[in-house]
């Protein structure tokens, strides 16, 4: 593999990073937004449709963010205000948004439209090897780097991030400490949804330009799997995204020798997710990782304790 191949891995993982980090943020707050595959599709469609109509990629990206933000709001509203099971709402929205994207996007199928333009970063792009991989990309890719770092920093190194983790971990205790649990859950669910939407729009405006039915290629489900694989830790989630990109390339390279297996490799994140969970749930591993602080947490990657549970203070 040469630098160009690594550059592809980085570029093709970008939508996945937005979606997976977005969902990580949401789940950290204790809300599970299962609608990812549908909302990414809908965002990919609206993002492209708006960009195509207005000619502005920026507006397209914003539209994509807003779309999934609204879908996420429905999840939050259903789960928090209406007290409906979040899993149920998420699954229904997945189906609904998928079909809606196909229906409303009918007119935009495979039209050539605007896309995010490449923008190499001066100086940095000349770093040997890494320059080509990391800095001869486009602004979306740079933003994904920023998102990884900022979300990591926000969650683990700020006061507000502590509150975020607290409401996903022990909402009743957080509430008793004076944290407005449900308001924050709304906020982070919608925020995470917006990043999911950015992931969708990044698909139709960059990674796989244009719109067609089912355009995001199961990336919503893959993002959900990667959140778990990544142990709800932005850095590990991002690693999972890049790993997935790499697996796809490996699959291609394998085709001449093992054509049957190559065809199957793109589903790799799912067994990886399951095996990771089983591995980490093993008693031996748990007691081992408990001994280490930050590193242990990175490896252990436990789910927020109150994930998917609604919190009703009254």
């Amino acid at each position: 593999m040469n630098a160009a191949t690594f550059a592809i891995i980085v570029a093709s993982a970008t939508p996945l990073i937005f979606a997976a980090i977005g969902e990580t943020i949401t789940e950290k707050a204790g809300v599970v937004n299962l609608s990812l595959d549908g909302s990414m599709l809908l965002s990919a469609m609206t993002g492209f449709a708006i960009a195509y109509t207005t000619g502005s990629v920026e507006l397209g990206l914003l539209a994509g963010m807003a779309t999934s933000g609204v879908v996420a709001f429905v999840v939050a509203f259903g789960g928090i205000r209406l007290r409906v099971n979040q899993i149920a709402v998420g699954l229904i929205l997945t189906y609904f948004a998928t079909k809606l994207s196909a229906l409303l996007g009918g007119e935009f199928v495979r039209k050539p439209g605007p896309s995010v333009q490449k923008m190499s970063l001066p100086v940095l792009e000349d770093i040997p090897f890494f320059g080509e991989i990391l800095f001869q990309q486009n602004p979306l890719v740079y933003f994904s780097f920023l998102l990884i770092i900022v979300s990591f920093w926000w969650i683990f190194h700020t006061r507000r991030g502590l509150d975020l983790q607290a409401i996903g971990e022990r909402p009743e205790a957080a509430f008793a400490r004076g944290i407005p649990v449900n308001s924050l859950r709304y906020f982070y669910t919608v925020l995470g949804g917006a990043f999911v939407g950015l992931g969708g729009a990044a698909f139709s405006l960059d990674a796989k330009m244009g719109w067609s039915e089912g355009h995001i290629a199961n990336y919503g489900w893959i993002a959900l799997a990667l959140v778990i694989f990544g142990g709800w830790h932005p850095l590990r989630v991002a690693f999972g995204c890049y790993l997935f990109g790499a697996i796809q390339i490996v699959a291609l390279k394998m085709q001449p020798t093992l054509p049957d297996l190559a065809q199957v490799l793109p589903i790799a994140p799912f067994p990886l997710m399951i095996l990771t969970l089983v591995f980490l749930n093993m008693r031996v591993v748990q007691s081992f990782t408990m001994r280490f602080g930050g590193i242990g947490r990175l490896i252990r990657g436990t789910a927020p304790s109150a994930l998917g549970e609604s919190f009703w203070p009254d």
């Binding site: 040469n2 592809i8 708006i50 539209a63 495979r110 050539p112 054509p259």
Partner: protein, 420 residues
């Protein structure tokens, strides 16, 4: 359409404020396919005299606006019914992934219900279904495009189905031209082929591409055959079905990353040219050759070296006419280009439209190549040709028969990639 209202629906606009742009920015690129955005299936026509206009049923494997294989068929059908002032009944996206609850026999039944006079199943993937349907309706004219069930000499002859015909274009020529164009323009001599699934048809098409490329690389440019790399990757279906196939966008990107400068697409959709356009606009010197549909270069004109395409209109018209005249019987037709003008919409089933990416010098060389194919002075399916594993396919000076080409069992020596 009420699509501006649709926009109101989209929360996007809540964020953006009111939608300012009210005029439909239908670009020149898409104007030629206005019909594709119209949902109505009845395309023509004022039926003035005939109380019952001719109805053509068309079953497409992908969306009718895929800018590829299915759109080419759709436009062929449109052409035919316009000429006949008939009606077109279309069902698209007929594949198990997109339409799990629709089977070919079911569609055929319904089209017959609607009064279809001729039903055309357009994809290789529909073989089993159309055979089943033809058996159920032995008196309804049907055609399986790309099939061989009506070929008496073929391996899968179904003598018991007298009204199920076959036709297909000799895309081998289109592919040879594509291969030649790629070889002429390529600096690196690294050509990659984005293949769909592997079967007889795709093997012969990719082999034709290779023959065209090698010919122009060695004979026209006078370079050494060993400097030409020709690599095939298959995605597993005619187009991308997430989860079932490899992602053609990723494949195309990886081709470029590994040094390829021309990708020739063999799949129904436009990922290769889209990615090439993206690369080219970022300043890389890469090109692509899409497939199937005349307008495919519009996705990225400057990165396009040309497109070999199907022009189904005349063939559709001819078969429809024979149904109207009561003369339709099952036959197998493998139709070549009209060499006098391969881009004549009324006569040539196979065409090649040169793209903006091709230099004028190379365009001239390509014209010469096309001419030599047309006048019969050049037959690339002539020995000595070996298979990929080194075994002999054709002895020196021996020309391949139709059967040998149609049922191409492997890839040729000099090509890289799996053959089955």
């Amino acid at each position: 359409m009420r699509w501006k209202l649709m926009m109101l629906l989209l929360p996007a606009l809540l964020a953006l404020g009111a939608c300012s742009s009210s005029d439909d920015t239908e670009s020149a690129l898409t104007s030629q396919s206005a019909a594709t955005t119209v949902a109505a299936t009845t395309v023509a026509a004022v039926a003035t005299e005939a109380p019952e206009p001719f109805k053509l049923g068309l079953i497409l494997v992908g969306p009718r606006d895929d800018r590829g294989y299915s759109q080419a068929h759709f436009e062929g059908g449109t052409y035919a019914v316009e000429k006949l002032q008939g009606e077109l009944i279309v069902v698209d996206k007929v594949n198990p992934a997109d339409s799990p609850n629709i089977t070919i026999p079911q569609i055929v039944d319904d089209m017959i219900d609607q009064g279809a006079h001729l039903i055309i199943a357009t994809s290789d993937d529909m073989k089993d279904g159309i055979l089943e349907a033809a058996a159920a309706h032995p008196d309804v004219p049907m055609i399986h495009a790309s099939g061989d069930s009506a070929w008496a000499d073929g391996k899968a002859y179904h003598a018991e189905l007298p009204m199920l015909g076959n036709f297909f274009g000799q895309m081998e020529y289109g592919k040879m031209i594509a291969g030649c164009a790629a070889a002429l323009q390529s600096d690196a001599g690294k050509i990659s082929y984005l293949g769909p699934l592997i079967n007889d048809e795709t093997r012969r098409l990719v082999s034709s591409t290779f023959l065209g490329a090698r010919h122009c690389w060695t004979e026209v440019l006078g370079k050494s055959a060993s400097d030409l790399s020709f690599n095939v990757n298959w995605i597993g279906f005619w187009f991308n079905i997430p989860g079932f196939t490899l992602d053609p966008t990723v494949v195309a990107n990886e081709f470029f990353a590994s040094g390829t400068d021309v990708i020739i697409s063999g799949i129904d959709t436009t990922e290769a040219i889209v990615e090439a356009g993206k690369k080219a606009s970022a300043g890389d010197t890469v090109w692509a050759i899409p497939y199937d549909y005349e307008g495919a270069c519009a996705e990225a004109p400057t990165a396009c070296l040309g497109v070999p395409y199907f022009n189904w209109g005349p063939t559709y018209l001819k078969n429809a006419q024979s149904v109207i005249d009561g003369e339709f019987t099952a036959s197998f037709a493998w139709i070549g280009p009209d060499w006098s003008d391969i881009n004549n919409h009324d006569t040539s089933t196979i065409g090649f439209l040169k793209g903006d990416g091709l230099t004028s010098a190379n365009a001239e060389k390509l014209d010469d190549f096309i001419a030599s194919l047309g006048d019969g002075s050049l037959n690339l399916w002539t020995g000595p040709l070996n298979f990929q594993d080194g075994s002999s396919f054709l002895g020196s000076g021996v020309a391949a028969t139709d059967l040998e080409i149609w049922y191409m069992p492997s890839l040729l020596e000099g090509m890289e990639g799996p053959a089955e």
